[in-house]
């Protein structure tokens, strides 16, 4: 019983990260019908930027080692903010260089260009930070909290709480505010949105900025659990993309559901046979694609020719 509870906690923490990144895929997809395949590299870049931010704030230089007392909550928060802003700007850059030139052209040029953008970011980060993993202690300490006999790290609770809060905020903004309505209008029909006086390019740029910032946020949240490295992004982004597919790429709530679902499946299967984790996840994806290609909560879009 305790073992299952333990797996649920691990799964939720992992799922929160997948959900955040999956949400990033949803935002750009619903506004431009494109995805940033370099999302994982952006996530890694955001993380190493934030870890360096903490080091610089602690007066340790760029390549120091962080002791637990160096990572205070405010240093963590300030670095998080820096990384979210830098990532937002990178998102804008990504849009203008790798997405905008190809929108509406048909074909899949943007797949290659966003992949390429990600690789450029990764190699730049590699040149600056090098390939080794950076250890960042959690700002909340490493004392295990016991819930029903199962152990949870404070950072894991922070991951789940922060991702749920961010998702609820985004969900409210999207459904209740004018700007959210504008985003949804653009997603629904660009031409009609333009005719209604919505600044479509601005909305689209915003979508890319938010999408990238979410990756940066996810990265720093998970770094104290996994360690930070330039290569940490790919597997997270791949799972997050899978989560978006399972939940429904065009439905924000579906992406969140998919994220948590995948996290839980991964840790539950691990309880049984560690080596079957990845297999079971991708089996689930294939199954969902066969039975409900639009994803669990996705809506089928009739392509008009």
């Amino acid at each position: 019983m305790v073992a299952i509870l333990q797996a649920v906690f691990s799964g939720l923490a992992l799922g929160g990260i997948y959900a955040l990144v999956a949400l990033g895929f949803n935002i750009t997809h619903s506004t431009t019908k494109t995805l940033n395949f370099g999302q994982g590299e952006l996530l890694a870049a955001g993380t190493v930027i934030a870890v360096s931010g903490v080091m610089l704030l602690a007066g340790k230089g760029m390549h120091g080692t962080l002791d637990p007392q160096d990572v205070t909550l405010w240093r963590y928060a300030v670095s998080l903010l820096i990384s979210v802003v830098v990532l937002g700007l990178l998102g804008v850059l990504l849009y203008y260089t790798a997405v905008r030139p190809f929108i509406g052209l048909g074909g899949l040029s943007w797949v290659m260009s966003t992949l390429g953008f990600g690789i450029i970011i990764q190699n730049t980060a590699l040149a600056i930070w090098g390939p080794s993993a950076m250890v960042i202690p959690s700002p909340l300490g490493d004392n295990v909290i016991r819930i029903g006999g199962a152990g949870v790290l404070p950072q894991e609770i922070l991951v789940v709480a922060a991702s749920v809060v961010v998702m609820l905020c985004l969900d409210t903004v999207m459904r209740k505010t004018k700007i959210g309505k504008a985003v949804r209008a653009v997603a629904h029909n660009k031409n009609a949105a333009t005719l209604m006086g919505i600044n479509v390019p601005a909305v689209v740029v915003l979508a890319f900025a938010i999408s990238s910032s979410l990756a940066g946020l996810a990265g720093l949240l998970i770094a104290p659990i996994t360690t930070a490295s330039v290569f940490m992004g790919l597997s997270i982004a791949l799972k997050a993309f899978s989560a978006a597919i399972v939940g429904g790429l065009n439905n924000a709530r579906g992406c969140m559901l998919g994220g948590f679902l995948l996290g839980l499946v991964e840790s539950m299967v691990g309880l049984w046979h560690a080596e079957l984790r990845e297999i079971s996840i991708f089996m689930l994806i294939i199954l969902v694609l066969v039975l409900k290609p639009e994803g669990l909560l996705g809506t089928r879009v009739a392509e008009k020719v």
């Binding site: 090098g130 390939p131 080794s132 250890v135 152990g151 691990g270 560690a274 080596e275």
Partner: protein
């Protein structure tokens, strides 16, 4: 107008003559390559510790007049912990740089990936860090095995860890948790075989991915199997995450780990309190003699955060053994040097004086008699002793 009034032609002439000079000098030099991860994986600290000792050894050799009156040049490469990169470097060192010998590989998986290259091209290799048992054994039946080692050896450290585990466990409930790389799985196999020599069957053998950070599910199963002693077979980052997961599920059995846990990644990931829980196999320490202390200080000048001194000492001694063999063979020919390595004796190293360390069938410079158990204490590793370590006799060290 003479040719030399034109500055361009002067430059060209100068460059041409310099090139000639440089290659002439190079033909005289003895080249030794160093191929190990110094930046990427959990073994980077081990590779870096080796690298500076490698340079120190070459400096010392040159100060003493080089080898056979020729200058020694070290060629240092970083394989980033990636087997394909390591293979590429090995080819480059042997084919392009034409090295006379190679020292290196911090990762066993990398060494196992390129073993065939120096063996086929007859270039002696001194493995000074990687520990996989198979490294010196794969070509042991060939007329000449070109792979030698001065390092911890998996089979030997397993002998020590298992001897401790069998005595520490009540009711012989021992589990093995290994990472899924070639290194971890090879170690798990060694541990299972050595346990069998003690007539013990592990209660469970589990594995984790090298990038995993949550091993609670594997550990839960190990706990349910009733294990009170766990042997972790992995490098420092993986072991660190295992210790963290142990704390999470409130399960702290007697935990034994490998020599790779000398890397400071272990206390940095697990925290110093948890890191102290792990008992690990060690080969040599800085305080063992004056030579070791001096080498430690020299390496620390370039690498102030050194915690993996054993790698420095082993790499230093590896270079010295190669030099002794070249002198004995009176040649740098790979075949002759490899044969001479099996004959060298009385070589003064940092760890010990090597009296006939290698034979035709045994290419291990160090053995279980040179090893002991250790534990992290704050920011350094200290020798670990308790009633069980004191009761271990040579007969217990089955292998």
């Amino acid at each position: 107008m003479s040719a030399f009034s034109n500055p361009k032609s002067v430059a060209v002439a100068l460059a041409v003559s310099l090139c000639g000079l440089v290659s002439a000098v190079h033909a005289q030099d003895i080249k030794i390559g160093y191929n190990a991860d110094q930046s990427a994986s959990g073994t980077a600290e081990l590779g870096t510790a080796g690298r500076w000792a490698f340079e120190a050894a070459i400096e010392d050799l040159n100060k003493a007049g080089g080898i056979l009156g020729r200058k020694v040049v070290g060629i240092i490469r970083d394989d980033l912990g990636a087997p394909p990169k390591s293979i590429q470097i090995m080819n480059e060192l042997i084919d392009n740089e034409k090295v006379d010998a190679v020292v290196g590989s911090a990762n066993s998986g990398n060494a196992l990936a390129w073993l065939h290259i120096p063996q086929q091209k007859k270039v002696p290799v001194m493995v000074s860090i990687a520990t996989a048992t198979e490294i010196t054994r794969r070509y042991a039946k060939e007329p000449q095995n070109y792979l030698f080692r001065v390092s911890m050896v998996d089979r030997e450290q397993v002998a020590l860890l298992v001897a401790y585990a069998v005595k520490a466990s009540k009711g012989q409930k021992i589990a093995i948790l290994a990472d899924s790389t070639g290194y971890g799985q090879g170690g798990a196999r060694d541990a299972t075989e050595v346990l069998a020599l003690h007539n013990v069957k592990p209660v469970l053998v589990e594995k984790y991915g090298p990038k995993d950070t949550d091993m609670t599910s594997q550990l839960t199963k190990i706990r349910e199997a009733g294990a009170d002693t766990v042997i972790i077979y992995g490098i420092a980052d993986g072991s660190g995450h295992v210790l963290r997961s142990m704390e999470k599920i409130d399960y702290l059995p007697t935990t034994l780990g490998t020599w790779g846990n000398l890397s400071s990644l272990l206390p940095r990931i697990a925290g110093s309190k948890l890191a102290e829980h792990l008992i690990l196999a060690a080969s040599t320490t800085e305080d063992s003699n004056a030579k070791a202390k001096a080498l430690g200080e020299r390496v620390r000048k370039n690498f102030p955060t050194l915690t993996t001194f054993a790698c420095s000492a082993q790499t230093y001694d590896s270079v010295m053994l190669l030099a002794a063999a070249m002198k004995l063979a009176n040649s740098t020919d790979g075949e002759k040097v490899a044969a001479a390595l099996e004959q060298v004796s009385g070589v003064q190293g940092v760890i010990k004086t090597y009296d006939k360390p290698f034979s035709k069938t045994d290419h291990e410079g160090l053995g279980v008699a040179d090893f002991y158990l250790a534990r992290w204490k704050g920011s350094s590793v200290v020798r670990y002793q308790d009633a069980i370590t004191r009761s271990i006799t040579p007969a217990d060290l089955k292998r």
